[in-house]
Symmetry: C2
Subunit: 452 residues, 2 copies
Amino acid sequence: MAMKKKPVTGMKDILPREMEIRDYAIGLIKETYKTFGFTSVETPAVEHIENLSSNQGGENEKLIFKVMKRGDKLTSAAQKLVEAGNDSDEGAGLDAGSLADCGLRYDLTLPLSRYYSNNANDLPSPFKALQMGNVWRADRPQRGRYRQFMQCDIDILGEPGIIAEIELILATTTLLGKLDFKNFTIRINDRRILKAMAAYSGFAEEDYDTVFIILDKMDKIGLEGVKEELLKEGFNADTVEKYLGLYAKLVNDEGQDQEEAKVSGADKAKLSIENIKSIKDTLGDYLDEEVSDNLSTIITSVEGAKAADFGISFDPTLVRGMSYYTGPIFEISMDEYGGSVGGGGRYDEMIGKFTGQSTPAVGFSIGFERIVMLLLENDFQVPGTGARKAYLIEKNMPAEKMQKIMALAKEERDKGVIVNVSIMKKNKKFQKEKMQEEGYTEFVEFFADRDF
Amino acid sequence: MAMKKKPVTGMKDILPREMEIRDYAIGLIKETYKTFGFTSVETPAVEHIENLSSNQGGENEKLIFKVMKRGDKLTSAAQKLVEAGNDSDEGAGLDAGSLADCGLRYDLTLPLSRYYSNNANDLPSPFKALQMGNVWRADRPQRGRYRQFMQCDIDILGEPGIIAEIELILATTTLLGKLDFKNFTIRINDRRILKAMAAYSGFAEEDYDTVFIILDKMDKIGLEGVKEELLKEGFNADTVEKYLGLYAKLVNDEGQDQEEAKVSGADKAKLSIENIKSIKDTLGDYLDEEVSDNLSTIITSVEGAKAADFGISFDPTLVRGMSYYTGPIFEISMDEYGGSVGGGGRYDEMIGKFTGQSTPAVGFSIGFERIVMLLLENDFQVPGTGARKAYLIEKNMPAEKMQKIMALAKEERDKGVIVNVSIMKKNKKFQKEKMQEEGYTEFVEFFADRDF
């Protein structure tokens, strides 16, 4: 039977040009985080189905690629399925899921939690982990979104203090700088500030998530849009008024940070610290002073030690979808992308839910595929790639001459030159053109009847 | 529900020490093959079940981790399974496999064939491909053998000449040299020499595979052992006598290459070329002269341009299990491992079987997991890792001092120093001891009330 040539639906073959950029980015990520004291970890692609379905994965749990049991266990599960099918009407409610005992991971957070709880005794404390690996989601296929993609997560487990946030942001921005990204912004907020602003305005705690989902649209629909949507939800008009009053001091009519366009670098950080202070003054006892002080210290420290051209800015409208965040949250905004290329925050309670042992944690997830896409679009040239030479040799080269050619190639390769030895084709001109497209700039020809 | 802490059966969490070596080896592999003009490729971990079950994967096809269909397709397949179960006795012969539409790849060869046939128009010709990636096999779990492991395949597709064999062997041995392996041997043979020796002795072509399986044991059971087993199979005594007569000239009583222990390097290559010539003289028309000449040219060229301390040696007993090989075959023998850490050969007909388009091909598969295991056992130190410093800072450091510390760390990190900034613990002595175990050699302490 002829083979199916295309990859399975929603997955992709990666061609050499993209691989070159991916390999380079992966190398740079490993190298950069290493200088910050992070260590690489790897977990299996396959996880227990019980762990994947433990209600920590949100919507992703519906997108699991399930792996079937094997051998006798599969036979026995299939028989049970048949029996259950007979007892029900027309196979209604058949649980084919009982035939699976594991599945492909849909993120790296759950495997990291399992890894940490399985190996904590052999790991440093705090544990600074870098995990890069593929994850799989049976999403509806769409342009630019694949069912297998690489995630890159950086986490510090076991450190309750803001040194963790500072180190994560510095390491990640250093990486982006090395990849030639400029002019991006780290937007930062704290879940406790979000909550204090809602509490101060008079929202009930059970409504916070609804309020934050609407607030999250600020940069798209502006102050007026947020107001409308909150009122439409039926919230008290005075509460809504008070809430938006807080934000009116901090964002302009389009919902962007005030003066974001005008200021940059140190000024942005300074303005952020003023804004945090003003919020704290307004909120009074609704906000713990340590929270605002810590946020200011994070901003000051990052601004003072940054290794790339970016700004860090307090953004009181930053929500970050996941409700598991407990403290500072942050996101990388890149104008040229028009969205976030990574983000994260503190999630002090999640690992404990997985493992039964409370562990403070901060994590950053880099949008690896987005970054690769941006580099490809910008025609990024991988630096440090030496000269590319092509040796074209005549067919049927005698042994002693072949030996000499390979020795010459060795000398150049030892110096880092890329040397591609190929048999000379009949249409040499076409052969060279093709190789030029691959980046070969120099051609050396060897003939069997000539000395070299 | 509490999480399952262990990885799924037969798979493993990789700890930092091993990851450091893996990352280093992966980087070196990519870098080394790149200087030989190879490009990286990546294929999805998940493949069509039809491709995985196309009878090209041998025993591995029994070990597939099957991935279940999703959504309506799963429901419909489950209903059909129930109906089929009702029609049969006690669910006998239930084909639960019908619930799967894809599976995890068990090797990189099949995905590469699919990749090549899917993308040939966008790929150079010849195509020099490096593919590293995990594969999965539901093998019986056993010590040191895992159900997820990394494979590393290097292939040249579209090149019929021996330049492909020479480049593959040189690139791979260069890599092993960079990993500090010494004194290993590349054993080389040609499937056509194997066949000619069998034909010359009088074996029928349909018996070759049986004969070769026994010949393959030469290094374990010696000449006498091979003779016994061949006779036990019922082969003609004169044929067996004639066959072993050929080998008696080339291997010693223990079945090893003559004088292997005594000679090395250039002498080994010289002896190999003499042996090939002597075999050719004996076999006469049974062996095409081009085959023996080419083998000698490979040996001469590799010996003359090698970048590591190893020998290349003609081994007429080398079989390489897979019957798909069509020309030169080779294997890396390492005494310290007591076995092969990689091997390959020419397989000019396989890709055509997959894709319907004949494509000459040579491949080398490196035993990545074995190599990592050997490096771990040898306590391999990853070179080029700069100094490791730990900054221990007092809790509640004021913002301006925190900024100064991070700026100091940045300066050192820019120079490649690994700087790990941690909060000073109450038991500072214990903290330092633990960090020393992780390789931190220098400690710098920062106090909130002191200048620095």
